[in-house]
Structures are given as structure tokens and as C-alpha cells.
């Protein structure tokens, strides 16, 4: 009987061992998979139960967690919700997080491996871990100026510091109030979210980063850059610029916006063509350069790539293997050319930065729960898009646009501003997108701006200057404190 008892005991101990193996699998090897199951509210609940780190501009929190009495112990509060919504995103019980809240969640929630020591201490003290903070590169004056200037119109504004790639403003309009989506009332959150989703103006869309549009005439900067970089053109090179041209292989005529020739004898200099936004000259230039040259130039500026700012931007495109008429249309930013406002701001920033494209970024510092600095952003050059001397030429040409050309509304007294207007036709019948890109001061630019008003105005080149340029001007003035 003793032998049998020992065997039974061994079997019972084996059963306990089986429990141990199984629980080790569950709680160690399989735990992450289980945590990430959709419908597992614990992860969210446990995030809500600790003090989530703040999102800071300077020392001002724009997103903050405050303690509440209810079951979810902390409520996310956005002090100026709509102004910064394109940056912060929301932090929702029902729909998860977006924007910086999503991309920097590991830091804000305190899950980052850099907090390991803190977490061990907190574990021993039986205390909930606290999140770290994120400091942004945003210039609050520029951000407010951008949102106020947009004034509810459908559009996007983005401002970049050319020398570093630091993003100074990201504005999307119309937008949403993240406070309403980050409350503790899931029914109210759902109602609000459904309402935003149903809105035809897409308030949840992050326009500067996620929306690609035909850039229209602002793309002429890329074509001009390709021309200068080819070595065959200077600002003074003459290009045929009649009032209208018939595109080869077709009977389509392309005309200038004002219906006039761009210069005497139907010829114009490259500089003048940019200044008055001469379509025929740039269409001819595009055909002279060939699609490949423009494609390569666009690629050097960042087309065909997406950027994690840390929010991932949409990819801007230049059409592949266009025929002659398509190349002509692409050279003036029509046909299948698509660009984000971010991309156009990067083009301008590179022109301002002697041709070097800097990676755009939004997070300047990662901070611990005690606001000690864990990481400083280091600006990174992505590529050289232009030779410095060509960049200088193009900058001067852009100053010409504002001083004597189509971009007069971007003028700032006492400062030389460079810019480029754009009016992008899209679907027939719909009004065009009004673009404006600019840099200031031209000698050593501190800010590059891209503005687009979606279906903003009339079909003429005037709308870029009339509608978009004043917005860019306000943002530049805010950055330069003028």
C-alpha cells in the first residue's frame, strides 16, 4: 500500500506541476498576446488608473491628467483642446488614442523600458507607476496664429524651423475637442465620435500630415529646383511662355491664369515665370527637363517617403512615367502630383536651409515622471536636395514672388519674405485648393510655412495670395515676433 500511496502522491504533485507550467505559459509567455487582445479593457483601465504624463510646450501642459473620484482614477484634460488637437490627438476609453497620445503612449503611460528602475521601486512600494512627459517643439504663438487665421475654414497649416526640422505649428481645421473624446462617459464619447465621423468636413482628419492634395503652382518650386540643379538654367534663362500652349499629342490647351503671355516675345525668365506663376513657361520647362529629372528632384525633397513626426505622414507622389502632356501638367503640380502640406513645407524648408532636407519632428524632449530629461531630440538631415548656391538663387526668386509677383499678401514690413502661391484644380466643378508656401527671413530663414485651404476659393491664381498668404504671414509674424 505504501508504494501505491507514493505513486498517487507523485501523480498529485505532477498535477500541481502541470498547473505551474500552464500558469507560467499564461502569465509569462502568453501575457503580451492576451494583453493586446481587442476587448481587453484592463490595459486601458490600468493606464487610466495611474497619472499619465503631461504633454508640454515649454513648461505649459497642453494635456494633463487630473485626479477624479470615479472608478477611472485620472481624467485627461486638454487646456486648449481644439488649438492643439492635431498634435495631441485624443485619449479615449472607447476608441484608443491618436496623435502624440498614441505615438508616445509608452512614455506617457510609464511603460517605457527607461522607467524600469522607477517601476521596480514602485512595485516594491506597492504603488502605481507614473508616466513620463513629452515636450514639444511647437511654438504656441505660431500654433494659435495658425488656428485663428484658419478660423474654421477647411484647411491645413504647418510651420517648420528650416535649420532643424522642428515643427513649430500643426493646424488642421475644422477640428475636434479632444476633451469630449477623452471623458469617462463612454456613451457621450460614442455620440461625439459618431458625430465627428459623420461630418463631411472630416474634423478627425489630420490634414497637414495625412491629407495629400494636388499642390498646383507651389510645385513649380520643385520644377524650378530641378532646372537649377540640372546646371542648364539660371534665374535669367529664357523659357517660352506664351498665353497658351497646345499640349503635344493632344488638342488640350493650357493657358496662363490671367490669359496673358508671360513676357515679351512670348518668352520669360525663370525668375519671372515663378514670380507671376507662369503655367506655360513651367509646362515647357517640365517638358525640356523630362519627367525623370523632376521625379528625382521631388524624391530628394522627400516625395515618395513618409515621415514619423512621430505621427506617420502620408506619402507624397510624383507620377511614374508620365507622357509628354502629363509631364507638362505635372510640372505645374497638376495631373497626378499629390503632396501633403508637410511635404510642401519641407520643400520650402530645404530651400531655406541651403538645400538640406531635415527630418521633421515634433518631440523636443522626453522627460521622466520627475521631469528630468531622458532624451533630447537631435535634428537629422535626410538628404541634400539642392546645391547651396542654387538654393540661394531659388530663395531670391521666392522673394521676387512676394515683392513683385503673385504673393504680395505675405509681405512683412522690414523682413524679406519668400513665397509661392498655388491654386490647384481638382475635381471639375469644385473650387480649387488655395496654397501658399513661404519662408522668412530669406537671408537666414527661421520659419518655413505651408498653408492650404481645401476647395478654398476661385479658379484663379489670386486665391492662393488672397486666402492662403495672409494665414502664412500671420504664422511667420508669430514666429518672428513681428
Amino acid at each position: 500500500m505504501i508504494r501505491q500511496i507514493n505513486r498517487v502522491t507523485a501523480v498529485l504533485i505532477l498535477l500541481v506541476l502541470a498547473l505551474m507550467v500552464n500558469i507560467s505559459y499564461l502569465q509569462f509567455f502568453n501575457a503580451d498576446t492576451l494583453r493586446n487582445q481587442p476587448g481587453n479593457q484592463r490595459v486601458l483601465l490600468s493606464e487610466y488608473s495611474r497619472q499619465r504624463g503631461a504633454i508640454l510646450i515649454g513648461s505649459e501642459p497642453i494635456a494633463n491628467s487630473i485626479q477624479t473620484d470615479d472608478e477611472l482614477k485620472y481624467l485627461r484634460e486638454y487646456s486648449a483642446g481644439e488649438t492643439y488637437s492635431a498634435i495631441t490627438g485624443f485619449y479615449s476609453l472607447v476608441y484608443g488614442a491618436t496623435g502624440i497620445e498614441h505615438k508616445e503612449n509608452d512614455i506617457l503611460a510609464g511603460n517605457d523600458s527607461r522607467f524600469f528602475v522607477d517601476r521596480m521601486q514602485q512595485l516594491l512600494a506597492n504603488r502605481k507607476p507614473q508616466g513620463g512627459a513629452i515636450r514639444l517643439t511647437i511654438n504656441p504663438a505660431a500654433q494659435k496664429a495658425a488656428m485663428e487665421a484658419l478660423n474654421g475654414r477647411t484647411g491645413a497649416v504647418i510651420a517648420i524651423e528650416p535649420s532643424t526640422g522642428a515643427i513649430l505649428a500643426i493646424a488642421s481645421s475644422p477640428t475636434f475637442d479632444p476633451n469630449l473624446l477623452s471623458s469617462h462617459d463612454s456613451a457621450a464619447i460614442q455620440t461625439e465620435y459618431e458625430k465627428l465621423l459623420a461630418d463631411p468636413n472630416q474634423p478627425l482628419l489630420n490634414r497637414p500630415l495625412a491629407m495629400t492634395l494636388p499642390p498646383g503652382s507651389v510645385f513649380k518650386l520643385v520644377t524650378a529646383a530641378a532646372a537649377l540643379e540640372s546646371g542648364n538654367y539660371t534665374a535669367e534663362t529664357l523659357i517660352p511662355g506664351p498665353a497658351e500652349i497646345v499640349l503635344p499629342l493632344t488638342d488640350v490647351t493650357l493657358g496662363n491664369w490671367n490669359g496673358e503671355a508671360c513676357g515679351k516675345k512670348d518668352e520669360t525668365t525663370l525668375a519671372n515665370a515663378l514670380a507671376i506663376s507662369c503655367n506655360t513657361a513651367f509646362a515647357n520647362l517640365g517638358m525640356q527637363l523630362g519627367a525623370d529629372a523632376i521625379y528625382e528632384q521631388a524624391k530628394k525633397f522627400g516625395f515618395e517617403s513618409s515621415f514619423d513626426v512621430p505621427m506617420t505622414s502620408a506619402t507624397s507622389h510624383f507620377p511614374v512615367n508620365p507622357d509628354q502632356p502629363q509631364t507638362a501638367m505635372s510640372a505645374i503640380g497638376q495631373f497626378d502630383v499629390r503632396a501633403t502640406a508637410l511635404q510642401m513645407a519641407m520643400v520650402v524648408a530645404a530651400i531655406a536651409n541651403d538645400g538640406v532636407v531635415m527630418a521633421p519632428y515634433l518631440v523636443s524632449q522626453v522627460l521622466g515622471p520627475d521631469l528630468s530629461v531622458l532624451e533630447n531630440a537631435s535634428p537629422k538631415a535626410i538628404s541634400r536636395a539642392m546645391k547651396p548656391e542654387n538654393a540661394k538663387i531659388l530663395r531670391d526668386m521666392m522673394v521676387g514672388v512676394v515683392e513683385t509677383g503673385t504673393g504680395s499678401n505675405a509681405k512683412i514690413p522690414g523682413i524679406s519674405v519668400g513665397g509661392k502661391t498655388g491654386t490647384a484644380e481638382n475635381t471639375p466643378g469644385a473650387s480649387a485648393h488655395a496654397w501658399f508656401v513661404s519662408l522668412a527671413p530669406a537671408e537666414s530663414a527661421q520659419v518655413a510655412v505651408a498653408v492650404v485651404l481645401q476647395n478654398g476659393g476661385g479658379a484663379t491664381e489670386v486665391s492662393g495670395n488672397a486666402l492662403a498668404a495672409p494665414i502664412a504671414q500671420r504664422v511667420m509674424r508669430a514666429v518672428l515676433s513681428r
Binding site: 500500500m1 498529485l12 502541470a18 498547473l19 507560467s24 501575457a31 506597492n126 504603488r127 502605481k128
Partner: protein, 455 residues
């Protein structure tokens, strides 16, 4: 008093038991303090509960000291530690319930921990009574058939209309006035005594061999009667009360005791065959068994419906990870029945893998100490009874914990000493009392035999 006797007094190891008991109590107190600290509940508002639990354990210890001085010193402290951990977790879930009620503006629920401390008191009182009344476990053998009858009556009480009541689909409860009781918990002890007593008297017959097939010695077909009867009994429990857990526990217990009593592996093979047949029968005949099985295979298929409980349990365990969230810092209240069947996932969430492994080891210790007494006891009835009671604890822990951790299909059983519930706590303390009584007999010196004294 001879000098020899005094020497034995030293080796009773009652002081070790006392130290371990104090340790177990202190762990419970610390857990309680951590819960209050982490949840912001009133600091030690429950100190009366803690003090009374300490006094009760101290009192139980004194009774062991006087009634069973040579008893195993580990069993009571391990049971007490599990009990204290369960108490702290029930308190923790009470706090969660209060906070939820506060947040929803609903009236404050009555804390269950006060009921549980009452059950603990009753359990320990029954522990002391058992130890005091049963001076010698062999006296139980004389009432084998009374226990058998009592066991079966207790098992089937819930089926009686008007008396039994159904909770969560299983008919395990009887209700007298406002008092509810789960007689199956007591039945398992009565049936262990019955099986042990019966098999002791029949083991030689049951061990007779008809012929051999390969290495297996096949017993006589006419001796299969008792096994078939118990099999039918287990099936009846399954059919009548929809209680898969108890059914499995009783049948498993009988297989173990039949094997230990006869030493014939063939019985185990035959019984396993019957188990499979029973399982297949139950699977084809009953929808609820099929549901349990399919939920076990893929709980995420219907994660918000039938798989909800087990899925929430798995989420809780995953949230705990290796070290757990810490007392009061997880969300064990999200798992349904966190105080009863699913207390393992609650503990797993807040104490982590490390905490659960420690708890599993506690069950292994009870099994091992029980088995040690089983081996050391001098009478065959004691051998069988001790290994039977150890099996009950080990198997029950395995069935319920394996169920909530998805090692095996989920069945409703209480987790010994941890779960909220009076019947379970009282029965398990009685069980430990009998084991302690047997261990006392195993370790006690036979004073009238000079030889054993000098051993």
C-alpha cells in the same frame, strides 16, 4: 513522568507550528494593510477581523497542542495561510465593490469579508470539535456505512424540490430559511471515510486476479460492481446537479483509493475507460457539457458571451504577469465570481506568477504532508483515509484552478481555503482536522512499547 516521555515532548514540534501560524497570520495582515494602502480604503478599518482571525488561529493551535500534540506541524499553518490570503483578497474585492457603488451612486454593498471571517470562525470551531471528538481516527471505520449513507444523502440533497436551489446553472445548494449550504463539500469527506472503510474490508477480494493480459493483471469481472456503482453515482451527480466538478472529484477519489487499496493498475485502466465513456456520454447527452468543452477549446470565439468568464480570468492573469500588479492595484473585480470560483485569477492578477506558484506549492505541501501521514500510519484504514483526504484537496485544487486557468474545461468547485463560502471552509477545516488526527497517530510514540520509545 519518565525521562523518555519528556524527550518526546520536545519533539512534538508544536512551537514550530505556532511560529508558522504567526507567520501565516502576519502575511495575511500585511496583505490587508497593502490592500488598504493601495486602494485608499480606511486604514485598517477591518482590524477587528484581523485580530479575531489571529485569536481564532491561536485558539485552534492550543487545541492541537492539547488534543493532538504529535500532529504534523505544517498542515494547520498552510491551511491558515491560504485562508488568510483568501480573506485579504475577499476584503480587496469588497473595497472594489464599494468604490464601484460609490462611483455609480448606488448603495454600499455589504462586505463579504465579515461573513467569511464568521465562516472561518465556524470552520476553526468545527476543526477543534473534530479534533476533540475523534480521539482516534479508527473509530470512523466502525461507522463506514453510516458515512456512506450520509455522503450519498448529502450529495443528493440539492435535488430535493423545495430544498435545493440552483445557482449559476448548477444545483449544488440547499436553502433553509436564509441559510444556504453546499452539502457536496461535506459529502466529499463522508464519502472518503466510506470509500476507505469499505475498501479496507474488501481490498483482498478486489485484488484477486482472473487472468493476465500482457503485463496487466485483470481482476474478476464480478468485483467490478462497486466501481460501476460509484461511476453511476458520479454520473447522477452530473445529470441531477449539473456539477461536473464534484462528479469528477468523487470518481477520481474512488479510482485513487481503489488503486491504493488493491495495488492493481488494471482497476485504474478500467476506471479510466469508464471515465472516458462517461465523458463521451455526457458530451453527447448534455448541451452544457458541450458548451463547457467548446469554450475550453476556444474561449475567444464568444469572448463577450459564453467565454466571458474564462476570457476575463485570462486577461486578469495576463495583467498580473510575473510579479503581479500588487495588492489592490489590479482589476480582479472584472472577473465574474472573483471571490469564489475565480479567486485564483484574482490572486494571479495582483500577486503574479510568483504569487500563484507559491500558492500552488502550498497545496502541494498539504498533499505531501497528508501523504506522509498516510505512509506513516500503522493501520490500513488510516493509510487509505489520509491519502484519500490529501487526494480530495489536491484533486479539487487541480480541477478548479486548472479550470480557471484553462488547463482543463471549467467546472464549478470552490478553491480549498481561498474561496468565499462557508460550506467549503468548514468542510476543509474538518478535513484538515482528520488529517492532523491521523498524523498525530502516526507520529505519537507508543508509550507502552519500550522499543518504539527508544527509536
Amino acid at each position: 513522568m519518565s525521562e523518555n516521555l519528556r524527550r518526546y515532548r520536545v519533539s512534538t514540534r508544536r512551537s514550530a507550528e505556532l511560529v508558522l501560524l504567526i507567520g501565516a497570520w502576519l502575511i495575511g495582515v500585511f496583505a490587508w494593510i497593502l490592500v488598504d494602502g493601495a486602494t485608499g480604503a480606511g486604514a485598517l478599518a477591518g482590524w477587528t477581523t484581523l485580530v479575531s482571525s489571529g485569536l481564532l488561529l491561536l485558539f485552534a493551535h492550543t487545541v492541537v497542542r492539547t488534543q493532538a500534540p504529535y500532529a504534523d506541524p505544517i498542515l494547520l499553518p498552510v491551511a491558515a495561510l491560504l485562508n488568510m490570503l483568501g480573506l485579504a483578497m475577499i476584503h480587496r474585492l469588497d473595497v472594489a465593490g464599494e468604490q464601484r457603488a460609490l462611483a455609480n451612486g448606488s448603495p454600499k454593498p455589504t462586505p463579504d469579508v465579515y461573513a467569511q471571517i464568521t465562516w472561518m470562525a465556524l470552520g476553526l470551531i468545527f476543526f477543534m470539535i473534530t479534533l476533540t471528538i475523534i480521539r482516534d481516527h479508527r473509530r470512523l471505520q466502525r461507522r463506514t456505512f453510516i458515512f456512506g449513507a450520509a455522503g450519498i444523502v448529502l450529495l443528493f440533497l440539492p435535488i430535493i424540490p423545495g430544498l435545493g436551489s440552483e445557482v449559476n446553472g448548477a444545483r449544488l445548494w440547499i436553502k433553509i430559511g436564509t441559510l444556504t449550504f453546499q452539502p457536496g463539500e461535506l459529502a466529499k469527506i463522508a464519502l472518503t471515510i466510506f470509500f476507505a472503510g469499505y475498501l479496507v474490508s474488501r481490498r483482498h477480494t478486489l485484488a484477486l486476479i482472473k487472468n493476465r493480459v500482457g503485463g496487466l493483471q485483470i481482476p474478476r469481472a464480478k468485483d467490478a460492481g462497486p466501481l460501476i456503482l460509484i461511476w453511476i453515482l458520479a454520473l447522477l451527480v452530473l445529470v441531477g446537479e449539473r456539477d461536473l466538478g464534484t462528479s469528477l472529484l468523487i470518481f477520481g477519489l474512488f479510482i485513487v483509493l481503489l488503486y491504493v487499496a488493491t495495488g492493481r493498475r488494471a482497476w485504474v485502466a478500467i476506471a479510466t475507460g469508464l471515465l472516458v465513456v462517461g465523458g463521451v456520454l455526457a458530451y453527447t447527452a448534455f448541451g452544457h457539457v458541450r458548451v463547457r468543452f467548446s469554450v475550453w477549446l476556444d474561449p475567444f470565439e464568444d469572448a463577450s458571451g459564453r467565454g466571458y468568464q474564462i476570457v476575463q480570468s485570462l486577461y486578469g492573469l495576463a495583467n498580473g504577469g510575473v510579479f503581479g500588479t500588487g495588492w489592490g492595484l489590479g482589476y480582479p473585480q472584472l472577473v465574474p465570481f472573483a471571490k469564489t470560483d475565480f479567486i485564483t485569477s484574482a490572486l494571479g492578477e495582483e500577486l503574479g506568477l510568483t504569487g500563484l506558484i507559491a500558492i500552488f506549492i502550498l497545496y502541494a505541501i498539504i498533499v505531501e504532508r497528508g501523504a506522509r501521514s498516510a505512509v506513516a500510519t500503522r493501520d490500513p484504514f488510516g493509510n487509505l483515509l489520509a491519502i484519500g483526504l490529501s487526494t480530495v484537496i489536491g484533486l479539487q485544487a487541480f480541477i478548479v484552478i486548472g479550470g480557471v486557468t484553462r488547463l482543463i474545461p471549467l467546472t464549478g468547485l470552490t478553491t480549498p481555503f481561498l474561496s468565499y463560502g462557508g460550506s467549503s471552509l468548514i468542510s476543509n477545516y474538518i478535513l484538515i482536522a482528520i488529517l492532523i488526527r491521523i498524523s498525530n497517530a502516526a507520529r505519537a510514540p507508543e508509550i507502552d512499547e519500550e522499543q518504539s520509545v527508544q527509536k
